[in-house]
Symmetry: C2
Subunit: 247 residues, 2 copies
Amino acid sequence: MANGKLIVVGLGPGGAHDMSRRARTAVESCDLIAGYTVYVDLLRDEFPDKQVVTTPMRKEVERCRVALDEAAQGRTVAMVCSGDPGVYGMAGLIYELAQEYPPIAIEVIPGVSAANGGAAVLGAPLMHDYCVISLSDLLTPWEKIEKRLVAAAEADFVMALYNPSSHKRPDYLKRACDILLAHKDPSTVCGTVRNIGREGEEAHVMTLAELRDTQVDMFTTVFIGNSQTMELDGRMVTPRGYLQRED
Amino acid sequence: MANGKLIVVGLGPGGAHDMSRRARTAVESCDLIAGYTVYVDLLRDEFPDKQVVTTPMRKEVERCRVALDEAAQGRTVAMVCSGDPGVYGMAGLIYELAQEYPPIAIEVIPGVSAANGGAAVLGAPLMHDYCVISLSDLLTPWEKIEKRLVAAAEADFVMALYNPSSHKRPDYLKRACDILLAHKDPSTVCGTVRNIGREGEEAHVMTLAELRDTQVDMFTTVFIGNSQTMELDGRMVTPRGYLQRED
């Protein structure tokens, strides 16, 4: 029996209209679409005839095993992920688990990440060196997250913060802001974007001091400016330095 | 006269087949395509009838002014950028320069950045908290770059390094590696990707010690692993921690 193929496909933040042609072609040509229920549902209208297999939230290992099992049986499986599968997505876990299987061809098709997608909604906050940090301590000790926040603040990186809140940790963004405020000016320009590229998309620009007292949810990505980041006509913009060089 | 619109469009790393439907629609519906000659050329086959205005390398301010001038005259201009226009691209400069013009509607359509596109070629290196750092000191003092490299190493971020080399600074990657080697294990898994998504795409996985003695060019993006990053069957993979949690 021929070995199959597993293509890990990034949908971008908004689903179908954010997909690249490469991503679309991969989904069109697969035997089976696998993934988290919410993301697979984004594609049902566009690919109504495709067989799908879905798994619920938090079942990441099971979700990847289902996809690898199907590929090991000779099928071409498209595992779909929101945003970029290589950023807190399933790409790494697929490679790790594939070690337990006979050789399967694996390909990752990147998508626009929430960091890049959210930045475009806010303006242009990531124009200079930046860090992407998840505030979730489900898989990472909080001490490590804290250390990274301090390092990013001290070296004046722009930051994109994933998983800034959840039901079990509603105050994590506040904790993060308190850490940042020890190293950054309270007037630092920050932004939040909720439901990037989807219905109900919502963006706000504010200071770090204001962000500290803002309640966000798990569908929000948070942006912390560097010392140069400005608010221009309601947009969050970090200069790259072209005009400053001209001066 | 009605004010026009300026849409800053990310093409993704490889050009036309990496564009999202949103990006494609924007280019289809514009009056004029503007941008750096090389990127505009990527689109000529697909959009042969579009009027274009191109500017050579390094003329970033002029390029943005040309696009803003056209938009100010009531036209809808698509300014195209390789990768994501919000990452070392033109999005920020457009917002800055737009301050000198009457109100123009500006929209940014994100694309897959070189960091995310290159990561997908290498495997899954950016699965945990990461930094994006440009080694170019044309607009940023080297001392600041050095400080960010040290901070990223000490806090064990994965790193994606842009502009690792040029004719005028062929040894910058070596200098960066020497800084990193003071804080990271020489066996740290690293990777390089050249011509991401284009003809001649080429990827290599190696140790940090080997990377120090590797000559790369300006078409290469460099990835530095964190302490957990592994080489799995020739791929560069950073675990997120799902399996480690199960143990």
